[in-house]
Subunit: 226 residues, 2 copies
Amino acid sequence: MVGMDFVPLGLATDLVILTVRDGRLQVLLIRRGIPPYVGQWALPGGFVRPDEDLETTARRELAEETGLSAERIHLEQIATYGAPDRDPRGRVVSVAYLALVPDLPVPVAGSDAASAGWIDVRDAGELAFDHGRILTDGVERARAKLEYSPLATAFCPPEFTISELRGVYEAVWGTPLDPRNFHRKVTKTPDFVAPAGATTTRDGGRPAQLFHRGTATTLHPPMTRT
Amino acid sequence: MVGMDFVPLGLATDLVILTVRDGRLQVLLIRRGIPPYVGQWALPGGFVRPDEDLETTARRELAEETGLSAERIHLEQIATYGAPDRDPRGRVVSVAYLALVPDLPVPVAGSDAASAGWIDVRDAGELAFDHGRILTDGVERARAKLEYSPLATAFCPPEFTISELRGVYEAVWGTPLDPRNFHRKVTKTPDFVAPAGATTTRDGGRPAQLFHRGTATTLHPPMTRT
DNA sequence: ACAAAAGTGTTCCGGCTACACCCATGA
DNA sequence: TCATGGGTGTAGCCGGAACACTTTTGT
């Protein structure tokens, strides 16, 4: 370890912001307005400010892009991407974060609202920079975590039905699940979900109980992806 | 996104190099010789060079510290640590990597050999900077990955017995496993290990078959950590 | 012969799968 | 009354836990 010789480089965070809308897993993308990669979709992101923690940067970007006061939003680091040529403008190392947000009726209200939108992850196609790779890694992280954590509730509003929760799993994994077995698994696992007391008929049919998040942090044994 | 305004900061990689020696999980630590944290144990690491990929930096550091030509060594990113005050000398963001190495008869031969050593992870105590946190995260990553991947073989020489492999699991997890069930699980899982043909009596008792790594990348269903 | 470790067979049991079945509402 | 989704019961199966037992070496 030599001295504090700083190589000139930029440090940024990029965000994979996922939600479930219309039964499909979607990601928030920005249409680039300036070179490089003009006109292509990219992940939202920005540079880390002096004396700003990495997660603080990510939360700030999240708030800027979605209008969500990012307090209660699930946010976790994915990985850091630092290939020397990943940005043609110069050396930029990016710490990628995964954010899971509920399907709120809040429109995308960033500084560049007209050019941002929710895109089906299956339709995302080629992204700017190495953002395709980052998106893939983020989606895979989300898929894996649903197996052994109660993370799916991060996609749900504060109160939700079991079948809404199942819809999250089905959208993220892209596979149908047995409603009856899913119901049993989720309600019998201690502290996975907690009954809210009320019921709703918003999904049609017999009224469904409403639940909110439980206190569990892991799922033993895990949910099985078929 | 403004221009390429680079905040002055250092970008480094730190390494959690784990091995299994004498049936215990050990980590390679460096005794610091210069401030800050003089005399305390720290993870090996160093700054990223211009135009150097992050993993290249990590492999270079690994080779410098262990003398291992790091080609065949398992190396994966853990996470990036960027709290503004994590280094009292200035802003240094560190990308941490996890390396798993076999128990080779190679002495630790770094630039600072006298002050480096293999330390039981349970005895590591307080480390310099936020390295304690990084070590914890790295060890937890290794523990988790043994469950659902054939990663334990990364701790083994090219040819190993089933009980040596079990020894890895027991050392990393800190719990004993049933030798009979472990043997069945490992040998019945397709492509987890492949018979090498030879046998050895180096563990005493009846000769044991030697195996090498299989081609499997995941373990379904996973190994259970009791 | 005996100790020690390798490897096999077998029983028990918990959890998942698949599906039959009943419940409570809106139209 | 019917369609729709909510929720329960249950039989069968798969895989892990536990452990008795046989095999093959060194001393």
